[in-house]
Symmetry: C2
Subunit: 272 residues, 2 copies
């Protein structure tokens, strides 16, 4: 019997149409309030590089610009290898629907070598995952059911609220694909956007808001990810400023034993 594909693989599956040209489609399992969860769009764009036969190394960096809404249904991704050097390859990607650009992205692939390494920052202190409750998914968008969220700090159990209290923007949570899935660059690209927009935590209000641009750096090679397997990651997210309709956001994803696997930033928009 064929093992059932994980829905993340279904949602990021690409059909080759030519060199640097793929077809894909949104997946109802990763639906957000309107259109797909941004993390799965980021993963699909990452996949266009991962499956490209010209790719020579693991991804190091991914930037995704959410230019406009993505309608449920088919899309195409155009991938351009902008430049390939001895150490790095630079890629640009465009996700289009009916010829209109919905998302642009860039990625860098880089050959890691066993040179001097240094890990000055320890992972955040957190209680064991087993003692933390699963976030309830009632009333939340479909994509949240594709993840286990166990918040140690800054959860969303009281969201939405209208008490006027401005809470901390920081969250600390164990996050894992549901069902569990061995970590790879697809899932890391999606996980880096699985933190909720910080205004939900700080202000607690339900209002128009969206990620505008997202940058993720990967700090592991494919071989190291394979060794980590399907472990839950400890994710930390915070924000420094909410100013006149735009807010920043940073995140970091750690293995439970304190190895940083990815970190990054995003800029988000909010309406009022």
């Amino acid at each position: 019997m064929q093992p059932e594909a994980h829905r993340l693989d279904e949602a990021t599956r690409l059909v080759p149409l030519g060199e640097g040209w793929h077809a894909g489609a949104t997946h109802p399992a990763y639906a957000n309030m309107a259109g797909p969860f941004g993390g799965v769009t980021a993963a699909a764009l990452m996949n266009a590089v991962l499956v490209d036969p010209r790719r020579a190394a693991d991804p190091i960096a991914l930037t995704v610009n959410f230019c406009g809404p993505i309608a449920d249904g088919e899309f195409e991704i155009e991938t351009k290898l902008q430049r390939g050097g001895k150490t790095t390859q630079h890629w640009s990607m465009e996700l289009k629907q009916k010829g209109m650009v919905c998302t642009t992205a860039s990625a860098v692939c880089g050959a890691r070598k066993p040179v001097w390494s240094h890990y000055p920052v320890s992972g955040p202190a957190a209680p064991p995952r087993d003692g933390l409750p699963e976030m309830t998914k009632t009333g939340r968008p479909e994509w949240t059911r594709r993840y286990s969220f166990r918040f140690a700090e800054g959860g969303l159990d009281d969201f939405p609220r209208s008490d006027g209290v401005v809470a901390s923007a920081r969250s600390l949570a164990y996050i894992q694909d549901l069902p569990a899935r061995p970590l790879d660059f697809l899932s890391l690209a999606a996980l880096s956007d699985a933190f909720f927009v910080r205004i939900m935590h700080a202000r607690g209000t339900f209002q128009p808001m969206a990620t505008v641009s997202l940058t993720t750096y990967f700090h592991v090679g494919a071989d190291e990810l394979a060794a980590i397997g399907a472990a839950p990651l400890l994710g930390e997210a915070d924000a420094a400023i909410f100013h006149n309709g735009f807010a920043d956001q940073n995140c970091a994803l750690w293995t439970p034993d304190g190895r940083l696997v990815a970190n990054g930033v995003q800029i988000t928009w909010y309406k009022e």
Copy 2:
């Protein structure tokens, strides 16, 4: 008498060749070890959007991918308005020399509105600028002479060193254009890359190293920048991981009275 142009304006000056198409040139005043200082390249790419007559709002985000070396001399920048919505415009840029892509970039412009704002993070504590010594420029690349650096923490006076000591990757320094120049998005784009690559601080060794990709978020409007004027900024930079040839880096730029004007990340490459 015509006032003399600031060298940052000279170095980022663009000559229109057509819609979304400009010519520029490297400037000896911003020369790095090989090719131009990356910050001035970022500023030139930002300028291609700033001078574009289609631009409808201030820049919010800038990502620059340093794909290959830039030779001293002329370059062209192609600018594509990927999508313009009610609130945001998305741009892609390519800097080419002799038809070859040297740098790619993306930018988001966004209309700020006087809505709910919140500033959860205070600027870092630092001693007054007046009591801090200027970094010496002897033996450093030409571009460093275009900036005042006054380090409160994590300076480079002992660089390079070969004592094997791994120091903190964190720096705290007042940075300002030299001569002083009213802040704008050009200078912020450059300043966000004016922090030295963190391996210089942590390891102290002089070795092949380069910024691979850089993302900066702007947290001020043009009107707010005009009010800040030519003030020195307090810059904070740090890194979380140096792993097998790639290291992350984050930075934040604050006004002396504690207002965050820009922050961002970069991923850097080092050889050994």
